[in-house]
Every structure is written in structure tokens, then in C-alpha cells.
């Protein structure tokens, strides 16, 4: 029995649409809230003026140059991470998998810390490039260790966790040996969108756009990843090719998001599960739901992170982890951690 047919029985026809519109509404509210509340007080009237008016007072600049790109970055990064999580779980048929299993987070962190220690005029744009290169290197390492496209889910999980711990250990070693210069990276390592600018939005949007096109083209083939490899092959599916494509997509989605915002915890793991519980396993509904909910949750978590230590910023990763950990435990208990 596959998860899809089970879920379809539970799902009434109008339900997915309802939840998709609700998460779109949550996303919209989250973005409005992010524009309204921050360190500097902004009135509703001022907010409206900043969005439509030509003014360039402080309030207008806050909203247009800081809060809007930040909210958009959070929205895109959240959607990307959630989709990457969904794809990982589909490709590995492991409901507790997330992109860190592909070595993406650890690879990005490792490269950034190396850059920080080795390159004298280290700058933020360089960190983004390095982080993406690191994410790719981590993913390729896991890929080759697991034996290319024909890996079994268990092989991949083992290879992924090995690479993850290996690279994390090396990262921590570098940080301990070079405390003076790596102190500043701790904020990045927990994950944050607080410094996002329009430049980040411009950097991230092609990744999201191309990944979404690629994803929808791939959608029919992805369905077959849920069934046993032998059955899929029997149906004429090239399992290894589809899995490779999913892998590349995860790298594009998670790699670019992690490069800009740092490894934001738990989002990739939790959002696909909540979405599946709400709209069922049909990919046509699950993919948009996951993307919208991921964006909405990260925007809201980012808004909440401004108030943990107000008026100072806290990394948004703290909020997502605080929300995600109990949910994760709940999932693990309910399912007994087994593959459905």
C-alpha cells in the first residue's frame, strides 16, 4: 500500500484547495507583519505610504530597502528548503530524511569556515559562492560514496550521515583552532535572514525559478519514486535517472538557500510532513502546499526571531529548531520511525 492511496482515501476533494489558500493567506499575513514590525516603529499609514508612495524618509527606506527584501528572501528560502526536504524524503523513501543527509549543510559550513580562515579579504558575497560550492562538494561526495544513482535508501542514509559528521567535525576543528577569526561565523552557522538585501533576492530568485520549472517537468516521474524500485523499473521508469534529477534539484534548492541564509534547521524536515497530513500525498497538491507553507513558516519564524531578544536580532534558526524539535518527536513517536 503506498502512501498516496492511503492518503487519498482520507482526503475530501475540496480540502487541499482550502489548506493551500490558508497557507497562502498565512504567507501574506507573515509578509505584512514583517514589514510592519521591527526595531523601528512603523505605523500602518507609514507602511502604506512606503509601499505605494514616492517618499524616501527613514520609514520608507526601512520598509523598501530592508524589510521587504528580507521578507522576500525568507519566503523564497523557506519554500526552497521545504521543497528540498520533500524531494529528499521522496527520493530516499525515508520520512525522516532532510537535505543535510545529502551533505549540503555540512559542506557549505565547511567551505565557509575554510574561506574565513584562509582568505584574507573575506566578504559576504564570497561566502555565498563558497557555501554553494561547498554544498555541491558535499552532495557529490555523498553521491559517489552511496554509489551513484542506484543507491538503496539505506546506503544513501549511511553515506550522508558519515559525510555530514565528517565535515561537521572538520568545521568544528577549524573553528576551535582559529577562534579569533571564526567567532563571527556563529551567527551564520545557526541560520539567519536578518542581513538580506535586494541583492540576495536577485541572487536567489533564478535558483527558485529554474528549480520550480524543473520540478514541475519532473513531477510525473517523481510519483514512481514512492513505489518499490523493481515495480518502477517494471513500469518502464528509469529510477536512477529520476533519482539523479531529484538529487540535482535538492542541491539547487537547498544549496542556494543555505548559501544565503545558513543552515536553517528543521524546516526541510517538518514542512513536508505537515503538508502531507493536511492535503494528502498527491504531488499535485503536496508540492504547492509544501512550498507555500515553507515560505509562510520561515517568514513568521523570522518575524518571531526579532522579538526573542528585542531589540536585538536572534538567528531565525533558533525559532525553527524550537518549533521543529517537538513536532519531529511527535512524528517519530506516531510513526515509530518506520517507513510507511
Amino acid at each position: 500500500m503506498t502512501s498516496e492511496s492511503l492518503a487519498e482515501k482520507r482526503t475530501r476533494p475540496g480540502r487541499p484547495l482550502l489548506f493551500i489558500s490558508l497557507s497562502a493567506l498565512l504567507l501574506l499575513l507573515g509578509i505584512v507583519g514583517s514589514l510592519k514590525w521591527g526595531q523601528a516603529p512603523v505605523s500602518w499609514h507609514g507602511l502604506l505610504g512606503a509601499l505605494v508612495g514616492p517618499g524616501d524618509g527613514k520609514t520608507d527606506l526601512y520598509v523598501r530597502l530592508l524589510r521587504l527584501p528580507r521578507a522576500l528572501t525568507a519566503c523564497m528560502a523557506g519554500a526552497q528548503l521545504a521543497l528540498a526536504g520533500l524531494l529528499t524524503q521522496l527520493a530516499t523513501r525515508n520520512p525522516l530524511a532532510s537535505p543535510h543527509l545529502f551533505g549540503v549543510n555540512a559542506g557549505a559550513s565547511f567551505f565557509v569556515v575554510i574561506g574565513l580562515v584562509a582568505i584574507p579579504d573575506f566578504s559576504a558575497p564570497l561566502a555565498v559562492g563558497l557555501a554553494f560550492a561547498g554544498a555541491a562538494a558535499g552532495a557529490i561526495l555523498v553521491w559517489s560514496l552511496a554509489g551513484g544513482g542506484r543507491f538503496s535508501p539505506v546506503q544513501l542514509a549511511l553515506a550522508g550521515i558519515t559525510v555530514h559528521f565528517l565535515l561537521s567535525a572538520l568545521t568544528e576543528g577549524m573553528m576551535v583552532l582559529n577562534q579569533q577569526s571564526t567567532d563571527s561565523m556563529i551567527f551564520w552557522l545557526v541560520g539567519s535572514v536578518s542581513q538580506a538585501s535586494w541583492q540576495d533576492v536577485r541572487l536567489l530568485s533564478p535558483f527558485l525559478g529554474s528549480s520550480l520549472i524543473f520540478l514541475f517537468a519532473l513531477l510525473p516521474s517523481l510519483r514512481l519514486l514512492a513505489v518499490e524500485d523493481e515495480i518502477a523499473s517494471g513500469l518502464g521508469q528509469r529510477v536512477a535517472a529520476v533519482r539523479t534529477a531529484a538529487f540535482v534539484l535538492v542541491l539547487l534548492l537547498a544549496g542556494s538557500a543555505v548559501a544565503l541564509c545558513g543552515p536553517i534547521g528543521f524546516l526541510c524536515l517538518i514542512v513536508p510532513h505537515i503538508s502531507r497530513a493536511l492535503v494528502g500525498g498527491k504531488l499535485g497538491a503536496l508540492v504547492p502546499m509544501t512550498a507555500l507553507l515553507g515560505g509562510a513558516l520561515l517568514v513568521c519564524a523570522d518575524l518571531a526571531s526579532r522579538f526573542i531578544a528585542f531589540p536585538f536580532e536572534s538567528p531565525v534558526g533558533i525559532v525553527t529548531s524550537a518549533l521543529g524539535a517537538p513536532l519531529f518527536l511527535h512524528l517519530a513517536r506516531r510513526r515509530g520511525g518506520t517507513v510507511r
Binding site: 527613514k58 530592508l66 572538520l170
Partner: protein, 337 residues
């Protein structure tokens, strides 16, 4: 397929090895760099110093044992210490003003972090590595007779360090300017130079008063901040440099309990300091990006051309009399009439 797995594994292992070896190489280099200095310094330091120091000691503190109060209790030293290890730049700053040569200094293996005025006074010392993680082996190899440590930063290593030599435990890392002066008196007493210490403090006060006069009581909100590629860390009046600015008669625009709050650009614009002293850690910092944002010009300091870049080693690391005097000089040259 198997072959592919094995090959990949082998490549991964080779990568791991090369990284590990590179790390060892780096560690080895720093040791070998310090090694000859140690072997040449220790005989020369141990041979002449007892003869040189004992008359000095008898001249200054003929009474024998020295006792003083540190942050945790009473410390008694049987004689004037000759082989002192300083676990932070602030202690080195104090020792340099008293013409005492420490045998070991925790300098994070980077002599570039000393301010010039301190470095020029240091003739022969050995680095004992990180200020955060005391390297017990390197410290004990120096056979010190006094180790000056911080009560917070070195909390976890106090027991081990106690086994090597008597400790002088000071509340330094979170100290403001007044606390630094108190610590200075304790250090001066510990090295048997109480009178010299008082004399140096009087000179210091004269330098500070002269700087204050030159600044002419300019009532400005002034913010010092450490800036690195990812963050802007303001130093509030609870930090050392912030408390020094308050003592000099400036206002702290941050007004917060935290010593080193990280500010976003929005907060910095709201804080709106009238003068800004940037202490960069790297060549490129977050301020390079902020400067291109129209909001940057909304800060009074930026609009009035009062953004200054000063040395972090002077303003934030040295944290002593020499550091304060350099800060006063920087302030006069930036804001003085």
C-alpha cells in the same frame, strides 16, 4: 559498482588525510617557530634573572611575602614573581607600563594583535597560544611563578592552572574602565611595584585630563563598534571602550544592558550615533555593503563625516592604560577642536 564505491571512499579518505596533515603541519610550524626562541630564551632568562631580580626585590619589598586581594580572595606570594604568564592582552598592557617582562603571553599565536606601544616594550616572550583555551603544556613548560588569568574566560582551567603556579585571578574580560584601574593596582602590587604603579597612574590621569581639555567637553553620542564581514557589534557603555568614552564625557547612544549587542542597519539608523568609531576585524566588512545603502546617510555620523576607522587592537584588545591613552589620542585627532 563496488569498485566505484571503493574508489570514492579512497578519495574521501585521501582528502581527510590531507586536511589532517595540513592541520598538523600548521601546528608543527607554530611550535617549531616558538621552539628555538624558547631554547635560546630560557637559559638566558633563568640564568641572569635571579641575580638581577633579587637585589631589586630586596630593594622594593624587603618585607618578604606580598599579599593582595584578587577577584576570589587573598593571594600570598613568597617573593616577587620573576616568571609571569599573562593570559590576556590587558595584563600584558599593565605589565608593559611597569617595565615587567612576562615570560609567556597568550596572544592567540598572532603578535599582530599587540598594539605598537605594548609590542615595543616586549623584548623576549614566548606565546602560550589561545587566550580562550589555556594551553597547559606550553604554560607549564615555561615554569612560571605567577599566572594572571581572567575569572570568566579561564574558569574551566583554573584548577589545572593552579597546579602549575600561583594564580592572580582578576575580573577583567567584562571589566569597564574603573575596574581596569583597580586591576592595574592589584597587578602592580603583585609584581612588587606598587609605588611605580601609582606614579604611572598619576601620569595616565594627566594624559587623560589633557585629552579631555582638548576635546572641549563636546557633548556627542559616540559609538565604537567591532565590524566583521557578517556583523556590526556595538560596544555599549558596559564594555571597556564604551565605559572609557563615558568617562571622557561622551554619551552612549545604545543604552542597553548588553556589553556587545549586534546591531542591524535598521537599529543603527535608529540608534543614530553622532560619531562612529569602526574597529574592523577584516579588510572587508559589513559596513562596505551598508555604505551603499541610502539608509547609511541617514545616520548623523555618516551625514556629518564623523565615521572613523581605528585599530581594534588599540580600542578593544589592549584594554589597559596604554590602550586607553591611544584611544584618547585617537579621539582628540578625530573630534578635537
Amino acid at each position: 559498482m563496488r569498485w566505484g564505491v571503493k574508489k570514492a571512499l579512497a578519495i574521501a579518505l585521501v582528502c581527510l588525510w590531507s586536511v589532517a596533515l595540513a592541520a598538523c603541519g600548521a601546528a608543527g610550524n607554530s611550535n617549531s617557530g616558538a621552539g628555538p626562541a624558547a631554547s635560546s630564551s630560557s637559559p638566558s632568562a633563568s640564568a641572569p634573572s635571579p641575580s638581577a631580580a633579587s637585589p631589586q626585590a630586596s630593594a622594593e619589598s624587603a618585607s618578604g611575602p606580598i599579599t593582595m586581594e584578587d577577584a576570589v580572595g587573598t593571594v600570598t606570594l613568597q617573593k616577587v614573581p620573576e616568571r609571569i604568564v599573562a593570559m590576556d592582552f590587558s595584563f600584558t598592557d599593565a605589565l608593559a607600563t611597569l617595565d615587567v617582562q612576562p615570560v609567556g603571553i597568550a596572544d592567540d599565536d598572532d603578535p599582530g594583535l599587540f598594539m605598537d606601544a605594548v609590542k615595543s616594550k616586549l623584548t623576549n616572550y614566548q606565546s602560550v597560544g589561545s587566550r580562550y583555551e589555556p594551553n597547559i603544556e606550553r604554560i607549564s613548560a615555561l615554569q612560571p611563578d605567577l599566572i594572571i588569568v581572567d575569572i570568566n574566560k579561564h574558569k574551566n582551567a583554573l584548577e589545572q592552572l593552579k597546579g602549575i603556579a600561583p594564580l592572580l585571578i582578576l575580573d577583567d574580560y567584562e571589566a569597564d574602565y574603573d575596574q581596569m584601574i583597580k586591576n592595574y593596582r592589584i597587578i602592580a602590587k603583585a609584581v612588587g611595584k606598587e609605588a611605580e604603579g601609582e606614579k604611572r597612574l598619576a601620569e595616565h590621569q594627566a594624559i587623560i585630563d589633557e585629552a579631555k581639555a582638548k576635546l572641549g567637553g563636546a557633548k556627542l553620542t559616540v559609538l565604537p563598534a567591532v565590524v566583521n564581514p557578517t556583523g556590526f557589534f556595538a560596544h555599549s557603555e558596559h564594555s571597556f571602550s564604551g565605559s572609557f568614552l563615558a568617562m571622557m564625557g561622551f554619551d552612549d547612544p545604545v543604552k542597553n544592558e548588553t556589553s556587545y549587542p549586534q546591531l542591524s542597519l535598521e537599529q543603527l539608523v535608529e540608534t543614530n550615533p553622532q560619531a562612529l568609531f569602526l574597529l574592523p576585524t577584516d579588510q572587508k566588512t559589513i559596513v562596505d555593503q551598508w555604505e551603499s545603502n541610502p539608509l547609511w546617510k541617514q545616520i548623523d555620523a555618516a551625514a556629518n563625516g564623523k565615521v572613523f576607522t581605528v585599530e581594534r587592537r588599540d580600542w578593544s584588545l589592549s584594554r589597559g592604560l596604554l590602550g586607553s591613552e591611544k584611544m584618547a589620542a585617537d579621539l582628540v585627532s578625530a573630534l578635537g577642536a
